[in-house]
């Protein structure tokens, strides 16, 4: 039985479709484990061999990865929400009610998008705090730190623009309060608020603008920045924990 399975495996991984797709054999030896990296997209994220220090859970706490995962979940659930939602002051609220009561798994869908958004803001902040306290912004990672600051701001804007879309009292007044802060900018404040809201107060024009920003502009910006951010992590030599000389590691372990 065991032999049969092994033979089957061997057949599969040496078959033409497998080789055409993966271009390497079963990764149970060093060479194929190298090829699986150099021949695939995954190589953009990790080198073939990774320093043990950088995968210690308490070093990075996985916060950057969790933030990335939240972004992916938000993108997927967001697309489904778009199927049921019309950004009109007359329809939006009732679309949400319908989603929650009539659409199968609609409530779960909305919950995941909402809680996922809160989680992403939280983990992005905690990730920044981790990066700071581990000194991972030091050269050569300055630019990635700065990209990170913009990622955080983009995450705030993404969450904030989404907040208005359910068009309930919570949404309306939170955005009214939030955008009123802009008016305190002494020179252009009123103009900035007008540009944001498309008028003197929160209304249909604001909903249209926030919707456009929320489903198109902010996700595109986040996608580009995250891709750049992850590529830079790799280019900068992986995580900063790799910079710790082996001798020091030995001292710490004692």
């Amino acid at each position: 039985m065991k032999n049969l399975l092994a033979n089957l495996w061997e057949k599969i991984v040496t078959s033409r479709p497998w080789k055409a797709t993966f271009r390497y054999g079963l990764p149970n030896n060093p060479l194929d484990r190298s090829l699986i990296m150099t021949e695939s997209l995954f190589f953009h994220l990790h080198p073939v061999k990774v320093n043990k220090k950088s995968i210690k859970p308490l070093y990075s706490m996985g916060l950057g990865i969790i933030t990335t995962v939240m972004f992916i979940i938000l993108s997927i659930t967001g697309i489904f929400l778009m199927f049921y939602y019309v950004p009109s002051t007359e329809l939006a609220y009732f679309d949400i009610v319908k989603l929650q009561t009539k659409v199968p798994f609609g409530q779960l869908l909305r919950n995941m998008h909402r809680w996922g958004a809160h989680a992403m803001v939280l983990t992005a902040i905690l990730h920044m705090v981790r990066v700071f306290y581990t000194g991972a912004y030091k050269p050569p990672r300055e630019i990635n730190w700065i990209i990170g600051v913009f990622l955080l701001l983009a995450t705030f804007i993404g969450s904030f623009t989404g907040y208005l879309l359910p068009w309930d009292q919570l949404a309306f007044w939170a955005i009214t309060v939030g955008t009123s802060v802009a008016t305190y900018e002494p020179l252009m404040g009123k103009t900035i608020q007008k540009i944001l809201l498309g008028g003197p107060e929160v209304g249909q024009a604001s909903l249209t603008r926030f919707y456009g920003l929320h489903v198109m502009v902010v996700p595109a910006v986040l996608f580009i920045l995250i891709a750049f951010h992850l590529w830079r992590v790799r280019k900068d030599g992986g995580l900063a924990a790799n910079e710790i000389p082996d001798e020091m590691e030995a001292e710490n372990d004692n």
Binding site: I55, L108, G135, P186
Partner: protein, 255 residues
């Protein structure tokens, strides 16, 4: 031959060798292969587990707790209190204590400018990748965090009890009571721990140590102000205990 000098053996099926002159820093300088593991499958599996774990957690949480939905938006009926989303509550809380231009524009601008300039003020490569850099750094962070939580909570409570903007309204011009006084208090609270660091350390503090103080002040100020605004502000934007809010208001409903 020490372990450090040992290099990878040539792969049996490999007929070539890649040779390259690498300028430091590089990941593998001074490091032997015994400290590395294959990215596939070990790292890949760990990352997959983390991704699935956090997805599962989100699904479970979403099954247990529904997202809030209040009444249809009505521009004629103001909610009381009217709050921004939680991550902006630190800003909204500051608006209670000083001139809006200072609270809403200048201080957030300074905070972002500070964040961006951190790697250019502290550009030493020493101890990158080590939590708090040194044992001394850890101490700095611990004490600064404690100091910030106490002093910022004190600032909120004192300023709430004796607001200079109202008490001195007829005595001093608005510019002084709304901007100069709170601005000076904030500056003092931020600079004080840096001065303490300079006095307590015999040698000149490193740029990293100064950054540890300033970032810790910024982060914990953010935490205190956000929690105050989010949990402790109730109807009329007055301070209450979160579990003793009037009118049945529950701050957690506003997530």
């Amino acid at each position: 031959m020490t372990t450090k000098d040992r290099s990878f053996s040539r792969g049996s099926r490999k007929t070539y060798n890649l040779v390259e002159i690498v300028k430091s820093p590089t990941t593998m300088k001074d490091r032997g292969p015994e400290n590395t593991i294959f990215a596939f499958p070990i790292v890949a599996i760990l990352e997959l587990a983390l991704a699935l774990g956090s997805t599962l957690f989100l699904i479970l949480f979403s099954l247990l707790k529904d997202a809030p939905l209040e009444e249809l938006a009505n521009p004629l009926i103001t909610t009381d209190p009217a709050k921004a989303p939680w991550y902006f509550m630190g800003l909204q809380e500051m608006l209670e204590h000083m001139h809006p231009t200072l609270a809403g524009i200048i201080l957030p601008g300074v905070a972002v400018a500070f964040l961006i300039s951190i790697p250019f003020i502290d550009y030493s490569k020493e101890n990158a990748g080590v939590w708090f850099s040194t044992a001394y750094g850890k101490k700095i962070v611990g004490w600064t965090a404690l100091y910030t939580v106490i002093s910022m909570t004190g600032f909120v409570l004192l300023d709430n009890a004796f607001p200079p903007r109202e008490l001195l309204r007829d005595v001093l011009p608005n510019l002084i009571t709304q901007s100069v006084i709170p601005g000076s208090v904030m500056t003092f609270l931020v600079v004080l721990p840096v001065l303490v660091l300079m006095r307590t350390k015999k040698e000149k503090p490193t740029a990293r140590e100064v950054m540890l103080v300033l970032f810790t002040v910024l982060f914990f100020t953010g935490v205190v102000l956000t929690l105050t605004g989010f949990l402790f502000r109730g109807p009329g934007f007055e301070l209450y205990l979160p579990w003793a809010m009037p009118n049945g208001y529950n701050p957690l409903d506003g997530l």
